[in-house]
């Protein structure tokens, strides 16, 4: 069990959105791009792109690069990787817990005398 911090929550939320994943996709393909260019590649407004970029920026998934008067965005792949890992970890934790429940329940059932101290449970409701 690991604790999820606020920072990790932000990462999760940032990459859970399909539009933002598409944005990351385009950015990865291009290396870097401005919000205006990104808006031409996605079926959303430039304003929406800017909002999504702000979420990604807060989560540390993209960096802003000032190029003269332009601001270009680029992906920070190590953060993207961290996000995927943290999500995979939580799902894996539940798989492990269920497997542990299965082991416990099946071992108890195998021992007909219930020597692990299981009481007959409240069934008939």
């Amino acid at each position: 069990m690991r604790r999820r911090g606020g920072e990790e929550d932000e990462l999760w939320a940032a990459v859970a959105d399909p539009t933002r994943r598409k944005l990351l996709d385009v950015l990865l393909a291009r290396g870097e791009a401005t919000a205006t260019v990104l808006a031409t590649e996605l079926p959303v407004t430039r304003q929406a792109v800017s909002k999504h970029l702000a979420v990604l920026d807060r989560a540390g998934l993209v960096e802003r690069r000032q190029r003269g008067r332009e601001v270009r965005y680029a992906v920070r792949p190590e953060r993207l990787d961290a996000a995927a890992e943290s999500m995979a970890r939580v799902a894996a934790e539940w798989d492990q817990r269920l497997a542990a429940i299965k082991r416990l329940a099946e071992s108890v059932t195998a021992e007909a005398d219930g020597s692990l101290g299981l009481r007959p449970s409240t069934t008939s409701r």
Partner: protein
């Protein structure tokens, strides 16, 4: 709704009663979940999950329908009481299947801390995919573009 759930299930070769005991009784929860546990098995009841290594997380039982269903909230920050803003909801559903039991778990609410109302409205526009699918897509995506998520 927002795609903020993790689902998993397992088929267990044991009767529903036995699985219910394992899932809900502190003595057993201290084996499969935390290192030790205290649980008041009633709506509003307090749950205390202790990990030797990670500390204590507090939960609150929401619904109990023996031996088929139990749900609880647990707070993310160690030692904090669960509130709407800091906790996720865990729901266990047990159903008899042949001689055994199908046990399903859903953890949801990861998104509650996130974002503006506008963003939530955007999500709500027909984004109903399950978290597992999102996760699968994301992992695929990351491994395609960045390299395998599981780093050496």
């Amino acid at each position: 709704m927002v795609p903020d759930r993790i689902e998993s299930e397992v088929l267990i070769e044991a009767p529903v009663d036995v699985v219910w005991s394992i899932v809900t009784e502190a003595e057993h929860v201290g084996k499969w979940f935390s290192d030790s546990a205290e649980i008041e098995l009633e709506p509003g009841g307090k749950a205390v999950l202790n990990w030797d290594e990670y500390g204590t997380r507090l939960g609150r039982v929401e619904r109990v329908e023996p031996p088929r269903f139990i749900s609880f909230r647990w707070a993310r920050p160690a030692g904090a009481e669960p509130t709407e803003g800091n906790s996720t909801l865990v729901e266990f559903t047990l159903s008899a299947e042949g001689e055994g039991t199908r046990l399903q778990v859903v953890e949801s609410g990861f998104r509650e801390l996130d974002g503006t109302d506008e963003e939530k409205a955007e999500y709500a526009e027909g984004n109903t995919r399950g978290w597992a699918k999102e996760l699968g897509e994301l992992r695929e995506y990351v491994s395609e573009h960045v390299g395998a998520p599981a780093r050496r």
